[in-house]
């Protein structure tokens, strides 16, 4: 029983260190005590440091932690719903669905990404939501047809390919400057959310995260399968819709603002389960949120190339952390309780 306390302490410590690390470490080096003084509102030796920390690094940090937490929760919800530990928003094509929604808006309705009107972000999120929910409903439909988990994953990958190919066709017909903008966005990054955009992004992701906390009871019942859950009084249809809506909102908002970020949704729930030693959602949901935030912050730090002014694309970094975790999990699946 003491296990979950340990997990919380480790994660909280890691979170504080990574959060500060993200503020301190960057292309411009700023001393730790200066960063702390800026955070305390006392300002810094140089005005530019103040600007960098408050207007660039802090929003980036908050974006990263919210996006990481949200993607991780999407992955966890999908893994429980489909009784498949290898499900995740990117592998099931849900991110690609959101991607397609964004592509339609971005390539064919003016340079919305440059604009700062609230309505523009809103339409981006709605388009991403429509795309992700469309793919989710397709996956649900196929999950009734194919019983095998592996087959369902392959169908998800195929749907992802289909969405990508539609995006390529759209790209082919779109104006060059918009295509460039779209390709840059597609590499994924946490820097795109400015101080002005942050409230929109934060309200969607925080809503999704709170929503997930309300689903803990039905998620636990679903560990036994839908029939058992129904016998325990869970209204299966509405539980399923809630889980999908929560996943859809999180994936859509994060994809719309940060681009399609791979691997975090798939890998983090495994880290959380191994850290916690249980798949009881009572602690697994909060621990997944914390782990997702930590890993996203770590990935964000790794995008900074030391001694250079440029950043690596986020999607170049996430597989370096995510892929080994998944391979480890697959190789050790016989020793991992939740696989059996």
């Amino acid at each position: 029983m003491g296990n979950y306390r340990k997990a919380y302490w480790i994660l909280l410590a890691a979170f504080v260190i990574l959060f500060l690390g993200n503020l301190v470490y960057g292309a411009v080096s700023i001393p730790v005590n200066e960063v702390l003084s800026i955070l305390a509102g006392k300002g810094a030796e140089k005005e530019s440091w103040n600007m960098i920390v408050l207007n660039s690094r802090l929003p980036q940090c908050i974006t990263a932690l919210l996006a990481g937490a949200g993607l991780a929760i999407s992955g966890l919800l999908l893994q429980t719903l489909f009784k498949n530990p290898l499900a995740g928003p990117s592998i099931l094509g849900i991110s690609d669905g959101a991607n397609l929604g964004v592509a339609i808006i971005m390539l064919y309705s003016g340079g919305l990404l440059g604009g700062i009107s609230g309505g523009a972000y809103f339409s981006m999120i709605l388009a991403a939501l429509a795309g992700s929910l469309a793919v989710l409903s397709l996956i649900i439909y196929f999950s009734r047809k194919v019983r095998s988990n592996v087959m369902l994953l392959i169908i998800g990958i195929m749907i992802g390919y289909l969405a990508s190919s539609v995006i390529s066709i759209l790209n082919y017909h779109a104006a060059a400057d918009k295509v460039h903008q779209f390709v840059m966005w597609g590499m994924g990054d946490f820097t795109g959310v400015s101080v002005e955009k942050l409230p929109y992004f934060a309200s969607f992701t925080i809503a999704g995260l709170v929503y997930s906390l309300l689903l803990i009871k039905p998620l636990n019942a679903l560990l036994l399968g839908e029939m058992y859950a129904a016998n325990l009084g869970v209204k299966i249809k509405s539980a399923r819709i809630s889980i999908l809506l929560c996943t859809g909102i999180l994936t859509a908002a994060i994809t719309a603002f940060c681009g399609p970020v791979s691997f975090i949704g798939l890998a983090v729930p495994h880290v959380a389960r191994m850290l916690l030693g249980t798949s009881n959602h009572k602690h697994l949901v909060p621990v997944t949120i914390l782990s997702g935030a930590c890993i996203a912050l770590l990935c964000n730090m790794l995008t900074v190339v030391p001694g250079s002014n440029s950043l690596l694309p986020l999607n170049a970094v996430t597989p370096i952390i995510g892929a080994p975790i998944i391979i480890y999990v697959i190789i050790n699946r016989r020793n991992l309780q939740y696989f059996n």
Binding site: T80, K83, L214, I216, K217, N220, A221, L222, L223, L224, G225, E226, M227, Y228, A230, N231, L232, G233, V234, K235, R273, T278, S279, N280, K282, L336, Q337, Y338, F339, N340
Partner: protein
């Protein structure tokens, strides 16, 4: 105690599927009652509609016709959460619960009683502990579900149903994947719960032997035949079970209560002597196509003195001595007896 009265009653029930495309009636005009304090076994060959009946009783699919009364009130009048407190199920569905502890799994049985976040109160913990104890799995409560044997997992699911505090327990083939000892243990546990806690228990099974041994009541389902109910002994002696399960090559022996391969012709062999030896010699004879019967003139007669001393009197008057049943079988095969 949950009371001895009628727990579930089916009146004029038709079960089956009602898809948009087609309507398939598996069984019609089913009349059944399930009593508190009794174990009822649902027997039937594959395709007879066992699972369909189980699913209908569990509320997973609606009846096509007729009605199911749950403690006097129609099933449709129960809300899903009220139903969850009446009928608890143990299914063959594959679960994904390997990564939680036995205690956590059994605590899921408290779902119909807990609040929005499913937090357990002191009373819930007491009920969970009692359920673990009654199901005989208390000593494993800290273990992960994935560490358990199939028999232990079945006990955990039964403990979950007990924590659910339902007067009616429905189990779909609970002994299907268990080895012999786990099968008997499960049946003994279910009997104990029926007798001590007054639960009304119904389970589907393919295991005719233990159903005859352990059930207070049998429900017999067969394609195209009316459902028959009664105590196993009554159904055996009036020939109903024989009628339900006999096929061209399989016969139900009313004397032993066992299904066996049909013998094409009767070749009687007299058996007498030590009861235990004679019983197993009879078993070997049946396997080899003979019919054990009263000793008489003109047939092969076997006198069992002890397991290592068996005398064979051949029809011609010759006597042979066997030192084991295997030896006996060898002797018999050298002197085939025709009818």
């Amino acid at each position: 105690m949950e009371g001895k009265g009628i727990a579930v009653e089916a009146i004029g029930l038709a079960i089956g599927y009602n898809d948009t495309k087609r309507r398939k009636v598996v069984q019609s005009n089913v009349n059944l009652s399930l009593m508190g304090g009794e174990v009822t076994c649902l027997l039937g060959l594959n395709g007879a509609g066992k699972s369909t009946l189980i699913r209908t009783l569990c509320g997973f699919q609606p009846p096509l016709e007729g009605k199911v009364l749950l403690r006097g009130k129609p099933l449709s009048s129960y809300s899903q959460s009220a139903f969850a407190r009446e009928v608890g199920v143990v299914l063959t569905e594959k679960t994904n619960a390997g990564g939680i502890t036995v205690y956590d799994l059994v605590s899921l049985g408290r779902h119909p009683y807990t609040g929005f976040f499913g937090s357990l109160k002191e009373n819930d913990h007491r009920i969970i502990e009692e359920a673990l104890d009654a199901a005989g799995i208390w000593h494993k409560k800290e273990n992960y579900v994935s560490e358990l044997s199939d028999g232990e997992r079945q006990k955990v699911m039964i403990a979950k149903v007990l924590a659910q505090q339902c007067p009616i327990i429905v189990l779909d083939e609970p002994t299907a994947f268990l080895d012999v000892t786990a099968r008997i243990e499960t049946m003994v546990l279910l009997r104990k719960l029926a007798k001590e806690q007054g639960k009304a228990i119904v389970l589907s099974t393919h295991d005719i032997d233990s159903a005859i041994q352990m059930a207070d009541n049998l429900w017999l389902l067969s394609k195209g035949k009316a459902v028959r109910c009664g105590a196993p002994e009554d159904l055996i002696m009036d020939g109903t079970i024989g009628e339900f399960f006999s096929k061209e090559n399989v016969v139900f022996d009313n004397a032993t209560g066992k299904l066996s391969a049909a013998v094409s012709q009767i070749r009687p062999v007299g058996v007498r002597g030590d009861f235990n030896t004679a019983y197993w010699v009879g078993n070997a004879l049946v396997r080899n196509g003979y019919t054990p019967s009263q000793p008489r003139e003109g047939i092969m007669n076997i006198t069992c003195i002890s397991p290592s001393d068996i005398q064979v009197n051949l029809p011609g008057g010759e006597t042979k001595k066997a030192t084991s049943v295997a030896h006996l079988c060898k002797i018999i095969s050298e002197f085939p007896v025709t009818a």
